[in-house]
Symmetry: C2
Subunit: 247 residues, 2 copies
Amino acid sequence: MESKLKYSEDYFLTAGETDARGEMPPTLIVERLIEIATRHANILDIGYARLAPMDRAWVLVGVCYSMERAIQINETYHITTWIESTNRFFSERCFRLEDANGSIIGYARSTWAVIDIEQRRTVNLNFLHADRLHVDGEACPVARIRAMAAVDNPDREEHLTFRYMDLDFNGHVNSTRYIEHILNAWPLEHYTTHRVSAFAIGYRRECLCGQSADLRIADTGETSAVDIVRNDERVVTARIEWIRTLQ
Amino acid sequence: MESKLKYSEDYFLTAGETDARGEMPPTLIVERLIEIATRHANILDIGYARLAPMDRAWVLVGVCYSMERAIQINETYHITTWIESTNRFFSERCFRLEDANGSIIGYARSTWAVIDIEQRRTVNLNFLHADRLHVDGEACPVARIRAMAAVDNPDREEHLTFRYMDLDFNGHVNSTRYIEHILNAWPLEHYTTHRVSAFAIGYRRECLCGQSADLRIADTGETSAVDIVRNDERVVTARIEWIRTLQ
Protein backbone atom coordinates (compact mmCIF):
# COMPACT_ATOMS: atom_id res chain seq x y z
CA MET A 1 0.00 0.00 0.00
CA GLU A 2 2.70 2.41 1.07
CA SER A 3 4.30 2.55 -2.36
CA LYS A 4 1.08 3.86 -3.85
CA LEU A 5 0.81 6.92 -1.59
CA LYS A 6 2.76 8.98 -4.08
CA TYR A 7 2.30 8.83 -7.83
CA SER A 8 4.49 10.40 -10.52
CA GLU A 9 4.48 10.89 -14.26
CA ASP A 10 6.82 12.38 -16.85
CA TYR A 11 5.52 14.83 -19.42
CA PHE A 12 6.90 16.72 -22.40
CA LEU A 13 5.77 20.23 -23.38
CA THR A 14 5.09 20.09 -27.14
CA ALA A 15 5.16 23.10 -29.44
CA GLY A 16 1.40 22.90 -29.90
CA GLU A 17 0.78 23.16 -26.16
CA THR A 18 2.62 26.39 -25.35
CA ASP A 19 1.30 29.93 -25.09
CA ALA A 20 2.62 32.79 -27.23
CA ARG A 21 5.65 33.02 -24.90
CA GLY A 22 6.61 29.42 -25.77
CA GLU A 23 5.83 28.49 -22.14
CA MET A 24 3.40 26.13 -20.42
CA PRO A 25 0.16 28.06 -19.91
CA PRO A 26 -1.79 28.02 -16.60
CA THR A 27 -4.64 26.15 -18.35
CA LEU A 28 -2.37 23.22 -19.20
CA ILE A 29 -0.77 23.20 -15.74
CA VAL A 30 -4.21 22.80 -14.15
CA GLU A 31 -5.25 20.25 -16.80
CA ARG A 32 -2.20 18.11 -16.01
CA LEU A 33 -2.83 18.37 -12.24
CA ILE A 34 -6.43 17.18 -12.68
CA GLU A 35 -5.26 14.39 -14.98
CA ILE A 36 -2.62 13.00 -12.62
CA ALA A 37 -4.95 13.42 -9.62
CA THR A 38 -7.57 11.35 -11.44
CA ARG A 39 -5.06 8.62 -12.26
CA HIS A 40 -3.75 8.45 -8.71
CA ALA A 41 -7.30 8.26 -7.31
CA ASN A 42 -7.98 5.35 -9.69
CA ILE A 43 -4.80 3.56 -8.53
CA LEU A 44 -5.84 4.04 -4.87
CA ASP A 45 -9.28 2.68 -5.80
CA ILE A 46 -10.98 5.87 -4.67
CA GLY A 47 -11.68 7.02 -8.23
CA TYR A 48 -14.43 6.89 -10.81
CA ALA A 49 -14.89 3.09 -10.78
CA ARG A 50 -15.48 3.07 -7.02
CA LEU A 51 -17.69 6.17 -6.84
CA ALA A 52 -19.82 5.90 -9.98
CA PRO A 53 -21.88 2.88 -8.80
CA MET A 54 -22.79 4.95 -5.70
CA ASP A 55 -23.86 7.89 -7.88
CA ARG A 56 -21.00 9.88 -6.39
CA ALA A 57 -18.17 11.81 -8.01
CA TRP A 58 -15.14 13.89 -7.05
CA VAL A 59 -15.51 17.60 -7.71
CA LEU A 60 -12.67 20.10 -7.75
CA VAL A 61 -13.32 22.83 -5.17
CA GLY A 62 -10.17 24.80 -5.85
CA VAL A 63 -6.59 24.63 -7.08
CA CYS A 64 -3.57 26.88 -6.67
CA TYR A 65 0.06 26.74 -7.66
CA SER A 66 3.29 28.68 -7.41
CA MET A 67 6.05 28.29 -9.97
CA GLU A 68 9.66 29.45 -9.60
CA ARG A 69 9.99 29.60 -13.37
CA ALA A 70 8.01 28.67 -16.48
CA ILE A 71 8.24 25.25 -18.12
CA GLN A 72 9.63 25.84 -21.61
CA ILE A 73 8.79 24.51 -25.06
CA ASN A 74 10.27 21.03 -25.68
CA GLU A 75 11.04 20.61 -21.98
CA THR A 76 10.51 17.34 -20.09
CA TYR A 77 8.91 17.79 -16.69
CA HIS A 78 7.82 15.53 -13.88
CA ILE A 79 4.77 15.76 -11.60
CA THR A 80 4.38 13.94 -8.30
CA THR A 81 1.07 13.91 -6.41
CA TRP A 82 -0.06 12.78 -2.96
CA ILE A 83 -2.91 13.35 -0.51
CA GLU A 84 -1.60 15.68 2.15
CA SER A 85 -4.57 15.48 4.49
CA THR A 86 -8.27 14.83 4.56
CA ASN A 87 -11.14 15.78 6.82
CA ARG A 88 -14.86 15.04 6.89
CA PHE A 89 -15.65 16.87 3.66
CA PHE A 90 -12.43 17.85 1.91
CA SER A 91 -9.37 16.07 0.58
CA GLU A 92 -6.18 18.16 0.17
CA ARG A 93 -4.15 16.80 -2.74
CA CYS A 94 -0.72 18.29 -3.40
CA PHE A 95 1.71 18.25 -6.31
CA ARG A 96 5.42 18.81 -6.88
CA LEU A 97 6.67 19.84 -10.33
CA GLU A 98 10.28 19.07 -11.20
CA ASP A 99 12.52 19.40 -14.23
CA ALA A 100 14.39 16.55 -15.94
CA ASN A 101 17.22 16.84 -13.37
CA GLY A 102 14.92 16.69 -10.36
CA SER A 103 15.17 20.40 -9.55
CA ILE A 104 11.93 21.77 -8.19
CA ILE A 105 10.01 24.09 -10.52
CA GLY A 106 6.97 24.58 -8.33
CA TYR A 107 4.29 23.21 -6.06
CA ALA A 108 0.52 23.01 -6.31
CA ARG A 109 -2.40 22.22 -4.06
CA SER A 110 -5.96 21.19 -4.80
CA THR A 111 -9.06 20.73 -2.68
CA TRP A 112 -11.61 18.07 -3.62
CA ALA A 113 -15.02 17.04 -2.32
CA VAL A 114 -17.28 14.11 -3.17
CA ILE A 115 -20.82 14.92 -4.21
CA ASP A 116 -23.95 12.89 -4.61
CA ILE A 117 -24.59 13.34 -8.33
CA GLU A 118 -28.39 13.46 -8.09
CA GLN A 119 -28.62 15.74 -5.08
CA ARG A 120 -25.55 17.85 -6.03
CA ARG A 121 -24.59 17.83 -2.35
CA THR A 122 -21.27 17.03 -0.68
CA VAL A 123 -20.94 13.67 1.04
CA ASN A 124 -18.98 12.79 4.18
CA LEU A 125 -15.60 11.35 3.09
CA ASN A 126 -15.44 8.75 5.85
CA PHE A 127 -16.65 6.09 3.43
CA LEU A 128 -13.29 6.45 1.65
CA HIS A 129 -10.86 7.71 4.22
CA ALA A 130 -11.92 6.30 7.60
CA ASP A 131 -8.55 4.68 8.21
CA ARG A 132 -6.50 7.49 6.61
CA LEU A 133 -4.65 4.86 4.61
CA HIS A 134 -4.39 7.06 1.56
CA VAL A 135 -2.84 10.07 3.25
CA ASP A 136 0.86 10.43 2.54
CA GLY A 137 1.12 13.38 4.87
CA GLU A 138 4.03 15.21 3.22
CA ALA A 139 3.43 18.90 3.71
CA CYS A 140 3.25 21.20 0.70
CA PRO A 141 4.72 24.72 0.79
CA VAL A 142 1.76 26.20 -1.11
CA ALA A 143 -0.66 27.72 1.40
CA ARG A 144 -4.24 26.47 1.52
CA ILE A 145 -6.74 28.25 -0.66
CA ARG A 146 -8.48 30.81 1.48
CA ALA A 147 -11.89 32.33 0.88
CA MET A 148 -11.34 35.20 -1.53
CA ALA A 149 -12.97 38.56 -0.89
CA ALA A 150 -15.42 39.64 -3.57
CA VAL A 151 -14.24 42.08 -6.24
CA ASP A 152 -16.68 44.84 -5.31
CA ASN A 153 -14.88 47.66 -7.08
CA PRO A 154 -13.51 46.22 -10.33
CA ASP A 155 -11.08 48.25 -12.42
CA ARG A 156 -12.76 46.78 -15.48
CA GLU A 157 -15.36 44.23 -16.55
CA GLU A 158 -15.68 41.86 -19.49
CA HIS A 159 -18.75 40.03 -20.68
CA LEU A 160 -18.69 36.43 -21.90
CA THR A 161 -21.05 33.67 -22.96
CA PHE A 162 -20.13 30.00 -22.48
CA ARG A 163 -20.27 27.93 -25.65
CA TYR A 164 -20.14 24.31 -26.77
CA MET A 165 -16.38 23.86 -26.69
CA ASP A 166 -16.30 25.17 -23.11
CA LEU A 167 -18.13 22.05 -21.89
CA ASP A 168 -16.84 18.88 -20.31
CA PHE A 169 -18.45 15.43 -20.57
CA ASN A 170 -20.88 16.32 -17.77
CA GLY A 171 -22.18 19.23 -19.83
CA HIS A 172 -20.77 21.78 -17.38
CA VAL A 173 -18.14 24.37 -18.23
CA ASN A 174 -14.73 22.65 -18.00
CA SER A 175 -12.56 23.73 -15.02
CA THR A 176 -9.74 24.87 -17.28
CA ARG A 177 -12.03 26.92 -19.52
CA TYR A 178 -12.73 29.42 -16.77
CA ILE A 179 -8.96 29.93 -16.54
CA GLU A 180 -8.76 30.49 -20.29
CA HIS A 181 -11.50 33.12 -20.20
CA ILE A 182 -9.77 34.84 -17.28
CA LEU A 183 -6.38 34.94 -19.06
CA ASN A 184 -8.00 36.29 -22.23
CA ALA A 185 -8.98 39.41 -20.30
CA TRP A 186 -5.43 40.75 -20.77
CA PRO A 187 -4.05 41.79 -24.17
CA LEU A 188 -0.96 40.36 -25.86
CA GLU A 189 1.08 43.41 -24.80
CA HIS A 190 0.63 42.53 -21.12
CA TYR A 191 2.01 39.02 -21.70
CA THR A 192 5.11 40.28 -23.45
CA THR A 193 6.23 41.80 -20.12
CA HIS A 194 4.39 39.65 -17.56
CA ARG A 195 4.17 35.98 -16.72
CA VAL A 196 1.81 34.24 -14.29
CA SER A 197 3.98 33.12 -11.37
CA ALA A 198 1.19 31.98 -9.05
CA PHE A 199 -2.44 31.22 -9.68
CA ALA A 200 -5.39 30.29 -7.47
CA ILE A 201 -8.95 29.50 -8.49
CA GLY A 202 -12.03 28.53 -6.51
CA TYR A 203 -15.05 26.85 -8.11
CA ARG A 204 -18.30 27.80 -6.39
CA ARG A 205 -21.04 27.05 -8.92
CA GLU A 206 -21.30 25.12 -12.20
CA CYS A 207 -22.05 27.02 -15.42
CA LEU A 208 -23.84 25.71 -18.49
CA CYS A 209 -23.65 26.27 -22.24
CA GLY A 210 -25.37 29.47 -23.34
CA GLN A 211 -25.13 31.13 -19.93
CA SER A 212 -23.57 34.58 -19.75
CA ALA A 213 -21.33 35.96 -17.05
CA ASP A 214 -19.21 38.99 -16.24
CA LEU A 215 -15.53 39.01 -15.38
CA ARG A 216 -14.84 41.59 -12.66
CA ILE A 217 -11.15 42.40 -12.54
CA ALA A 218 -9.20 44.34 -9.91
CA ASP A 219 -5.48 44.98 -10.40
CA THR A 220 -3.36 45.89 -7.38
CA GLY A 221 0.33 46.14 -8.23
CA GLU A 222 1.57 42.73 -9.32
CA THR A 223 -1.61 40.92 -8.30
CA SER A 224 -4.99 40.62 -9.98
CA ALA A 225 -8.27 39.49 -8.45
CA VAL A 226 -10.99 38.13 -10.73
CA ASP A 227 -14.59 37.19 -10.02
CA ILE A 228 -16.77 35.46 -12.59
CA VAL A 229 -20.27 36.60 -11.77
CA ARG A 230 -23.51 35.15 -13.16
CA ASN A 231 -26.78 36.83 -12.21
CA ASP A 232 -25.09 38.64 -9.29
CA GLU A 233 -23.70 35.35 -7.96
CA ARG A 234 -19.96 34.69 -7.81
CA VAL A 235 -19.48 31.37 -9.61
CA VAL A 236 -15.66 31.41 -9.82
CA THR A 237 -13.02 33.40 -7.94
CA ALA A 238 -9.36 33.71 -8.92
CA ARG A 239 -6.11 35.37 -7.91
CA ILE A 240 -3.15 35.88 -10.22
CA GLU A 241 0.39 36.85 -9.21
CA TRP A 242 2.33 38.36 -12.08
CA ILE A 243 6.08 38.50 -12.43
CA ARG A 244 7.73 41.04 -14.73
CA THR A 245 9.85 39.59 -17.52
CA LEU A 246 12.16 41.19 -20.04
CA GLN A 247 10.95 39.14 -23.01
CA MET B 1 15.71 3.69 -43.11
CA GLU B 2 12.72 1.69 -44.24
CA SER B 3 11.48 1.01 -40.74
CA LYS B 4 11.15 4.73 -40.10
CA LEU B 5 8.77 5.39 -42.98
CA LYS B 6 5.79 4.79 -40.75
CA TYR B 7 5.47 6.00 -37.19
CA SER B 8 2.84 5.03 -34.59
CA GLU B 9 1.79 6.04 -31.10
CA ASP B 10 -0.80 4.92 -28.58
CA TYR B 11 -3.04 7.46 -26.88
CA PHE B 12 -5.75 7.40 -24.22
CA LEU B 13 -8.76 9.73 -24.25
CA THR B 14 -9.01 11.15 -20.72
CA ALA B 15 -12.21 12.52 -19.17
CA GLY B 16 -10.81 16.06 -19.28
CA GLU B 17 -10.22 15.85 -23.03
CA THR B 18 -13.72 14.96 -24.26
CA ASP B 19 -16.51 17.17 -25.50
CA ALA B 20 -19.95 17.28 -23.91
CA ARG B 21 -20.82 14.03 -25.70
CA GLY B 22 -17.95 12.25 -23.91
CA GLU B 23 -16.24 11.87 -27.30
CA MET B 24 -12.95 13.02 -28.81
CA PRO B 25 -13.56 16.49 -30.26
CA PRO B 26 -12.31 17.54 -33.73
CA THR B 27 -9.90 20.01 -32.09
CA LEU B 28 -8.10 17.22 -30.25
CA ILE B 29 -8.07 14.95 -33.31
CA VAL B 30 -6.26 17.65 -35.30
CA GLU B 31 -3.98 18.46 -32.35
CA ARG B 32 -2.90 14.80 -32.14
CA LEU B 33 -2.34 14.62 -35.91
CA ILE B 34 -0.08 17.69 -35.80
CA GLU B 35 1.74 16.28 -32.78
CA ILE B 36 2.52 12.89 -34.31
CA ALA B 37 3.40 14.49 -37.67
CA THR B 38 5.90 16.71 -35.86
CA ARG B 39 7.46 13.74 -34.06
CA HIS B 40 7.76 11.68 -37.24
CA ALA B 41 9.36 14.59 -39.09
CA ASN B 42 11.89 14.88 -36.27
CA ILE B 43 12.66 11.14 -36.46
CA LEU B 44 13.16 11.42 -40.25
CA ASP B 45 15.45 14.42 -39.60
CA ILE B 46 13.26 16.69 -41.68
CA GLY B 47 11.86 18.50 -38.62
CA TYR B 48 12.49 21.59 -36.56
CA ALA B 49 16.16 20.86 -35.80
CA ARG B 50 17.00 20.56 -39.51
CA LEU B 51 14.90 23.50 -40.74
CA ALA B 52 15.37 26.09 -38.00
CA PRO B 53 19.07 26.82 -38.78
CA MET B 54 17.98 27.59 -42.38
CA ASP B 55 15.25 29.96 -41.11
CA ARG B 56 12.68 27.59 -42.53
CA ALA B 57 9.66 25.91 -40.97
CA TRP B 58 6.86 23.51 -41.88
CA VAL B 59 3.43 25.11 -42.14
CA LEU B 60 0.14 23.24 -42.21
CA VAL B 61 -1.74 24.08 -45.40
CA GLY B 62 -4.77 21.91 -44.67
CA VAL B 63 -6.01 18.83 -42.90
CA CYS B 64 -9.05 16.60 -43.32
CA TYR B 65 -10.31 13.43 -41.74
CA SER B 66 -13.17 10.96 -41.91
CA MET B 67 -14.17 8.85 -38.91
CA GLU B 68 -16.40 5.78 -38.95
CA ARG B 69 -17.27 6.38 -35.30
CA ALA B 70 -16.23 8.62 -32.43
CA ILE B 71 -13.40 7.76 -30.05
CA GLN B 72 -15.00 7.43 -26.60
CA ILE B 73 -14.02 8.59 -23.12
CA ASN B 74 -11.39 6.31 -21.49
CA GLU B 75 -10.67 4.63 -24.83
CA THR B 76 -7.16 3.72 -25.99
CA TYR B 77 -6.49 4.59 -29.63
CA HIS B 78 -3.59 4.26 -31.98
CA ILE B 79 -2.39 6.65 -34.71
CA THR B 80 -0.02 5.72 -37.55
CA THR B 81 1.42 8.35 -39.88
CA TRP B 82 3.40 8.28 -43.13
CA ILE B 83 4.25 10.52 -46.06
CA GLU B 84 2.06 9.42 -48.95
CA SER B 85 3.65 11.58 -51.62
CA THR B 86 5.52 14.80 -52.13
CA ASN B 87 5.97 17.24 -54.98
CA ARG B 88 7.92 20.45 -55.49
CA PHE B 89 6.01 22.45 -52.92
CA PHE B 90 3.71 20.16 -50.93
CA SER B 91 4.10 17.09 -48.78
CA GLU B 92 1.02 14.87 -48.33
CA ARG B 93 1.11 13.23 -44.91
CA CYS B 94 -1.54 10.63 -44.06
CA PHE B 95 -2.80 9.03 -40.86
CA ARG B 96 -4.68 5.89 -39.85
CA LEU B 97 -6.61 5.82 -36.55
CA GLU B 98 -7.27 2.44 -34.96
CA ASP B 99 -8.82 1.15 -31.76
CA ALA B 100 -7.08 -1.07 -29.18
CA ASN B 101 -7.92 -4.18 -31.26
CA GLY B 102 -6.49 -2.77 -34.49
CA SER B 103 -9.88 -2.06 -36.06
CA ILE B 104 -9.83 1.04 -38.20
CA ILE B 105 -11.70 4.07 -36.79
CA GLY B 106 -10.77 6.51 -39.51
CA TYR B 107 -8.23 8.07 -41.81
CA ALA B 108 -6.81 11.57 -42.13
CA ARG B 109 -4.73 13.53 -44.60
CA SER B 110 -2.67 16.69 -44.22
CA THR B 111 -0.85 18.94 -46.63
CA TRP B 112 2.32 20.71 -45.55
CA ALA B 113 4.64 23.27 -47.10
CA VAL B 114 8.00 24.67 -45.99
CA ILE B 115 8.30 28.43 -45.74
CA ASP B 116 11.17 30.83 -45.40
CA ILE B 117 10.38 32.38 -42.04
CA GLU B 118 11.60 35.89 -42.91
CA GLN B 119 10.05 36.11 -46.37
CA ARG B 120 6.91 34.10 -45.41
CA ARG B 121 7.20 32.38 -48.81
CA THR B 122 7.07 28.69 -49.68
CA VAL B 123 10.34 26.98 -50.52
CA ASN B 124 10.98 24.18 -53.04
CA LEU B 125 11.01 20.87 -51.12
CA ASN B 126 13.79 19.33 -53.18
CA PHE B 127 16.30 20.22 -50.45
CA LEU B 128 14.52 17.59 -48.27
CA HIS B 129 12.94 15.15 -50.64
CA ALA B 130 15.15 14.94 -53.73
CA ASP B 131 15.61 11.19 -53.44
CA ARG B 132 12.05 10.50 -52.17
CA LEU B 133 13.55 8.44 -49.36
CA HIS B 134 10.94 9.54 -46.87
CA VAL B 135 7.88 8.64 -48.93
CA ASP B 136 6.16 5.49 -47.73
CA GLY B 137 3.71 5.60 -50.59
CA GLU B 138 0.77 3.81 -48.96
CA ALA B 139 -2.38 5.37 -50.36
CA CYS B 140 -4.93 6.90 -48.01
CA PRO B 141 -8.68 6.58 -48.66
CA VAL B 142 -9.35 10.19 -47.65
CA ALA B 143 -9.52 12.34 -50.78
CA ARG B 144 -7.12 15.23 -51.21
CA ILE B 145 -8.28 18.59 -49.90
CA ARG B 146 -9.72 20.49 -52.84
CA ALA B 147 -10.05 24.23 -53.13
CA MET B 148 -13.29 25.13 -51.40
CA ALA B 149 -15.74 27.51 -53.02
CA ALA B 150 -16.33 30.71 -51.08
CA VAL B 151 -19.44 30.95 -48.89
CA ASP B 152 -21.01 33.83 -50.80
CA ASN B 153 -24.54 33.41 -49.46
CA PRO B 154 -24.18 32.45 -45.79
CA ASP B 155 -27.22 31.27 -43.85
CA ARG B 156 -25.79 33.09 -40.85
CA GLU B 157 -22.73 34.98 -39.66
CA GLU B 158 -20.89 35.21 -36.35
CA HIS B 159 -18.34 37.78 -35.28
CA LEU B 160 -15.23 36.92 -33.29
CA THR B 161 -12.03 38.52 -32.02
CA PHE B 162 -8.87 36.46 -31.51
CA ARG B 163 -7.42 36.68 -28.01
CA TYR B 164 -4.28 35.74 -26.10
CA MET B 165 -5.13 32.09 -25.46
CA ASP B 166 -5.79 31.60 -29.19
CA LEU B 167 -2.09 32.08 -29.95
CA ASP B 168 0.67 29.57 -30.54
CA PHE B 169 4.36 30.08 -29.79
CA ASN B 170 4.82 31.98 -33.05
CA GLY B 171 2.27 34.53 -31.93
CA HIS B 172 -0.21 33.44 -34.63
CA VAL B 173 -3.63 31.96 -33.98
CA ASN B 174 -3.18 28.23 -33.28
CA SER B 175 -4.44 25.89 -36.02
CA THR B 176 -6.81 24.12 -33.66
CA ARG B 177 -8.29 27.36 -32.34
CA TYR B 178 -9.94 28.12 -35.65
CA ILE B 179 -11.65 24.74 -35.38
CA GLU B 180 -12.83 25.57 -31.88
CA HIS B 181 -14.33 28.89 -33.01
CA ILE B 182 -16.05 27.13 -35.91
CA LEU B 183 -17.57 24.42 -33.68
CA ASN B 184 -18.77 27.05 -31.21
CA ALA B 185 -21.03 28.46 -33.94
CA TRP B 186 -23.55 25.67 -33.20
CA PRO B 187 -25.53 25.48 -29.96
CA LEU B 188 -25.53 22.57 -27.52
CA GLU B 189 -28.87 21.35 -28.89
CA HIS B 190 -27.31 20.68 -32.29
CA TYR B 191 -24.62 18.49 -30.73
CA THR B 192 -27.13 16.37 -28.84
CA THR B 193 -28.38 15.04 -32.19
CA HIS B 194 -25.34 15.52 -34.47
CA ARG B 195 -21.73 14.43 -34.48
CA VAL B 196 -18.93 15.55 -36.80
CA SER B 197 -18.15 12.53 -39.00
CA ALA B 198 -15.78 14.25 -41.41
CA PHE B 199 -13.94 17.54 -41.21
CA ALA B 200 -11.72 19.49 -43.60
CA ILE B 201 -9.95 22.79 -43.02
CA GLY B 202 -7.68 24.90 -45.19
CA TYR B 203 -5.35 27.56 -43.78
CA ARG B 204 -4.84 30.49 -46.16
CA ARG B 205 -3.64 33.37 -43.99
CA GLU B 206 -2.29 33.77 -40.46
CA CYS B 207 -4.31 35.75 -37.91
CA LEU B 208 -2.99 37.72 -34.95
CA CYS B 209 -4.18 38.56 -31.44
CA GLY B 210 -6.74 41.36 -31.39
CA GLN B 211 -7.80 40.86 -35.01
CA SER B 212 -11.49 40.41 -35.70
CA ALA B 213 -13.11 38.16 -38.27
CA ASP B 214 -16.50 36.90 -39.38
CA LEU B 215 -17.64 33.31 -39.62
CA ARG B 216 -19.82 32.83 -42.70
CA ILE B 217 -21.80 29.60 -42.42
CA ALA B 218 -23.84 27.80 -45.07
CA ASP B 219 -25.78 24.65 -44.16
CA THR B 220 -26.85 22.27 -46.93
CA GLY B 221 -28.48 19.13 -45.56
CA GLU B 222 -25.91 17.20 -43.54
CA THR B 223 -22.97 19.35 -44.63
CA SER B 224 -21.84 22.79 -43.49
CA ALA B 225 -19.42 25.14 -45.22
CA VAL B 226 -17.62 27.78 -43.16
CA ASP B 227 -15.40 30.67 -44.20
CA ILE B 228 -13.48 32.75 -41.69
CA VAL B 229 -13.21 36.16 -43.31
CA ARG B 230 -10.98 39.03 -42.15
CA ASN B 231 -11.29 42.34 -43.98
CA ASP B 232 -13.06 40.66 -46.92
CA GLU B 233 -10.28 38.09 -47.23
CA ARG B 234 -10.92 34.38 -46.62
CA VAL B 235 -8.29 33.36 -44.08
CA VAL B 236 -9.64 29.89 -43.25
CA THR B 237 -12.10 27.60 -45.09
CA ALA B 238 -13.77 24.53 -43.63
CA ARG B 239 -16.26 21.78 -44.45
CA ILE B 240 -18.11 19.72 -41.88
CA GLU B 241 -20.04 16.51 -42.50
CA TRP B 242 -22.58 15.81 -39.76
CA ILE B 243 -24.04 12.47 -38.88
CA ARG B 244 -27.31 12.21 -36.96
CA THR B 245 -27.14 10.43 -33.63
CA LEU B 246 -29.82 9.33 -31.21
CA GLN B 247 -28.00 10.51 -28.09
